[in-house]
């Protein structure tokens, strides 16, 4: 009898422990793994600045960066932007994007969700525009040891 009770308590506690360890909060390694958090922030910030910056004098560089950095749905989305890049050439447009701040909302099993605040400054010909803030939610996946952006949503 006592054995049964003890076994029952044991099973209950094991389930509770599993929930504590495997619960949503615990699975998420954002900030709890500072090195991994810093790494994905650095990678995604660099990539976002690169693919959102373009100059009419060399959109090829941006397109190549997009090919390297994006995967899946994000790659398809970016291809839809090609007409906009062509337009940039026509309008002598240069856009410089700087990531102001990025934070990790979710990090687990090779998938990360980030919130990215950035500033975009557009220059048309010789007229330098003011910087415009923009915010995006980015999903990145670790593919062959490299973080690649698989989804971008305007926020």
């Amino acid at each position: 009898m006592a054995g049964l009770v003890l076994a029952g308590v044991g099973a209950g506690l094991t389930a509770a422990a599993a929930q504590l360890r495997g619960g949503r909060a615990a699975v998420n390694r954002a900030l709890t793994d500072p090195a991994a958090t810093r790494q994905v922030i650095a990678a995604v910030s660099a990539d976002v600045s690169e693919i959102y910056s373009y100059s009419y004098t060399g959109i090829g560089a941006t397109e190549r960066a997009a090919q390297r950095v994006l995967a899946g749905q994000a790659a398809a989305q970016y291809r839809e932007l090609t007409p906009a890049l062509q337009q940039a050439v026509g309008e002598q447009l240069t856009v410089v994007t700087r990531v102001d701040q990025a934070g990790v909302r979710w990090l687990s099993g090779g998938t990360a969700q980030l919130l990215v605040f950035m500033d975009q400054t557009a220059t048309r010909g010789h007229n330098k525009g003011t910087s415009v803030p923009a915010q995006i939610a980015v999903t990145a996946q670790l593919i062959a040891g490299r973080w690649r952006i698989t989804s971008i949503e305007a926020r």
Binding site: A2, G3, L4, L6, A7, V9, G10, A11, L13, T14, A16, A17, L20, R21, R24, A25, A26, N28, A30, L31, T32, R98, D100, Q101, G103, V104, R105, L114, L115, F117, D119, T130, S131, V132, P133, Q135, A137, A154, R155
Partner: protein, 195 residues
């Protein structure tokens, strides 16, 4: 010769099982305790609590109806601590008058957020929040603005509260300028800065 003590084999098995069960229970208990009290589990929970508190506080600070200006600003007060709270408390009457004069209604919807720094020992955290703010002016139609806001939170006896709230440092609408450290004006819901 004394008769050898005969042991009831059933009893022996039962005793052995009881010992095994007790050992298992102890192990399970310990594993539960260590999971519940491990630093990383507590830290993850704190991170999620901070984000939840921050999103609610930022939502509150971007919600104000001139019909209920005093009540609305009381919610701002309840969501804040430190300098932000003190400044707000000091200018409360003035703020209420301003909102009533402007006759604006501001509502907000949180889109996304992340904790960027968390020190559970010191009880401080930094967050970033993206939100849509809908402003209904006295005349004219409502308009929606996408906002990026950054905040500092401090742990108080009644939960995590906003100690600072502003725009990202590099932003054109950044507030306040970095030359005035320590004083952050609350994001004024009734008077949007970006048009």
């Amino acid at each position: 010769m004394t008769k050898a003590k005969s042991v009831n084999p059933l009893l022996a098995v039962a005793a052995a099982l009881a010992v095994a069960a007790a050992a298992c229970a102890a192990w399970f208990g310990w594993s539960w305790y260590s999971a519940a009290h491990s630093g990383s589990a507590a830290y993850s929970r704190a991170r999620d609590t901070v984000l939840q508190s921050a999103e609610q506080a930022v939502l509150n600070f971007n919600t104000l109806n001139y019909h209920h200006a005093t009540e609305g600003l009381q919610v701002w007060l309840a969501s804040s601590t430190g300098v932000l709270h003190a400044q707000l408390a000091q200018n409360l009457r003035q703020e209420v008058r301003l909102v009533q004069q402007k006759q604006t209604i501001t509502t907000a919807r949180i889109l996304d957020g992340a904790v960027t720094q968390l020190d559970t020992g010191a009880g401080t955290a930094s967050v970033m929040v993206a939100l849509d703010v809908t402003v209904t002016p006295a005349t004219g139609s409502p308009f929606v603005e996408s906002e990026s806001e950054v905040g500092q939170l401090t742990r108080t006896a009644s939960g995590w509260k906003l100690a600072e709230l502003g725009y990202p440092s590099g932003s054109a609408a950044s507030s306040p300028p970095s030359s005035s450290p320590g004083t952050v004006t609350p994001t004024p819901a009734p008077s949007p800065r970006r048009s």
